[in-house]
């Protein structure tokens, strides 16, 4: 097991830049996710760590030693591909034992380790089956066992859950976490699914357009997204252009108290979740809005409220007993307004 570090990684294909100056580090035994929309460069980064892509510049370090010149077959990295990439003409046991065979282990040892790995992923009696005879979830477990059994320095998972249906995905997410914790292997996960990244990771690297936008723990990113892209990507509904004032922000002429280090007068973006909006009495409100649309779900009510803050209506959720109509007053607590740099 090792730490993994990507340092100033750049990968270009001709004129196209797939990864631009990416840097992050995963400590030994931790689970780190690269989160981003498709085409953001996350898979290229993973392939560079595995050795399938050579970096245009920058370094890949395992245990603080650069491995740029080491070919994939000597990096000792376990990979679970999105499609699993199980060898179709080999049994489950032969698939899992393949890496051990390449390491010239003797047959008894291979059999023992294969048994052990298949037990760990919860597939104790599928040794003689072929991949085509397994369900999606079982194939996934075999792919995990095959990657883990070689005791890799790092395990790389490329969208490991995307091929599974929703129910199985929830189940496998817990399994993945359990197996990773038990084996203690440093793991790097690539995903476009923010829920997956937030529930599994110790650290998250958010990427967009070939650039690392933010690196942090799930908590940090959830509470303090550093730019409009990250805020939008983690599901903050309202992101509005604003200006910094001495003790807060000004959004479309309305002043709000807010906590920020930015210099007064600078252009920024202000973001807040709809769930942080509060209804206010007539006198305590900070801004007014007009209810223009409504929908009732089983648990709560959703309103579209037209305010002076933005052209598009703001979304407001209330308890199911609370009915709104006409003009209403709204307020926002100072610590709920997130100050973002303009992209």
């Amino acid at each position: 097991m090792s730490s993994v570090e990507v340092r100033n990684l750049v990968k270009k294909y001709g004129d196209f830049t797939a990864v631009r100056d990416a840097s992050f580090r995963a400590e030994t035994g931790s689970l780190i996710s690269i989160l981003g929309p498709s085409g953001c460069g996350k898979t290229t980064t993973l392939r560079a760590i595995a050795g399938f892509e050579t970096a245009t510049s920058g370094d890949i370090l395992l245990d603080d030693k650069p491995v740029n010149d080491i070919p994939p077959w000597r990096r000792n990295i376990g990979i679970v591909f999105q499609s699993y990439a199980l060898f179709p003409f080999m049994t489950v046991a032969d698939n899992v034992g393949y890496g051990l065979k390449m390491r010239k282990m003797d047959r008894d040892q291979i059999a023992r380790k294969t048994d052990d790995a298949l037990n760990r992923v919860g597939l104790p009696d599928s040794h003689l089956k072929y991949p085509r005879q397994l369900s999606g979830g079982q194939r996934q477990r075999v792919a995990l066992a095959r990657a883990l059994v070689i005791e890799p320095a790092v395990m790389l998972l490329d969208e490991p859950l995307s091929a599974l249906d929703a129910k199985l995905r929830d189940e496998m997410r817990f399994e993945l976490k359990r197996i990773q914790r038990q084996s203690g292997v440093t793991t790097l996960l690539v995903t476009h699914d923010q829920e997956e990244a937030f529930t599994l990771s110790d650290q998250i690297v958010v990427m967009n357009n070939a650039v690392v936008k933010q690196v942090g723990s799930p908590r940090e990113i959830w509470d303090n997204p550093n730019c409009a892209f990250v805020a939008d990507f983690i599901g903050i509904e309202n992101i509005l252009p604003a200006e910094r004032t001495t003790n807060g922000v000004r959004i479309a002429g309305h002043d709000f108290a807010a906590l920020s280090d930015a210099a007064p007068g600078s252009d920024i973006m202000a973001a807040f979740r709809s769930s942080d909006l509060e209804l206010a009495g007539d006198e305590a409100g900070q801004f007014a809005g007009q209810v223009v649309g409504e929908a009732y779900t089983g648990n709560y009510n959703v309103y579209q409220v037209q305010t002076g803050l933005s052209e598009a209506p703001i979304i407001l959720k209330t308890g199911k007993s609370q009915r709104l109509s006409g003009t209403i007053n709204l307020k926002l607590a100072p610590d709920r307004i997130k100050i973002l740099e303009r992209d």
């Binding site: 595995a50 050795g51 399938f52 070919p71 994939p72 077959w73 000597r74 990096r75 000792n76 990295i77 376990g78 990979i79 591909f81 499609s83 990439a85 199980l86 060898f87 179709p88 003409f89 393949y98 890496g99 390449m102 390491r103 072929y130 085509r132 095959r146 990657a147 070689i150």
Partner: protein, 279 residues
Amino acid sequence: MLSATQRNWALSLPAFVIVGLLAVVPAVMMLASAFTSPDIEGFTLANFEKLWNSKLAFQAFWRTIRVAIIVTLITIVLGYPLAIGFLRAGPRMQSILLPMLVFPLMVSVVVRAYGWIVVLSPSGIFNQVLLGLGIVASPVDLLYSETAVILGESQLLLPYMVLSLMASLQKAESNLEEASMSLGANPVTTFFRIVIPISVPGLLTGTLLVFALALTAFATPLLLGGGRAPLLTTLIYSFAFTTFDWSAAAAVGLVLVILALAFVWLQRWVGQKVMKSYE
């Protein structure tokens, strides 16, 4: 209003009649005539007896099988590098290589065989190179030999093998080789342990296709083997137009048809049994 059955028959009838009258009926009549002889009344095996005792026919039979096997082996050995090289090449390179691979399929077999006549003739480039390098003292006479037939047919059928191999390699999941390498196998090991096994279905279809086409090739062996290296197909022709022994030609035809149909059957069987395990 026609019923569906009547309509389907009406649609099928023209082709059915034409192909039936011009292919099925004549072929069956001709093959049946293998059991007749101008000298003998009724059913006879005399023609087959004659073939059995003919050194020429016997040689042609074994030469046909031998040539087909060697041609198949050559196309396999040359086919793998071409198929894999093609799949490894970038999109731009592929758009140049694919026409180079497919174009020969459209070129007349006569033109392709003539190419080998030019290359292998005593004053051709092959002999010039051999003489120039001092490997031989006088030109080698390769033309009108079994070797020439093998070279010509291999060139003729190589694209089919390459296309079959490519089809099965393309169908396989793209990450298998990377998975193998990440597990510690270098590219050479990966080639033998992963690439070769996943190409097995394509290798089988390619082998059967090339073998069947090699068995029934006609113009290439006629031009490159001439009378000196007759195969079953060219033997039919020379029985028909040189010795005018049509019953013997029909008997050779029957042997060839049995071989060809056995292969069609084998192809279907392999298609059903073996391919299933690769899905």
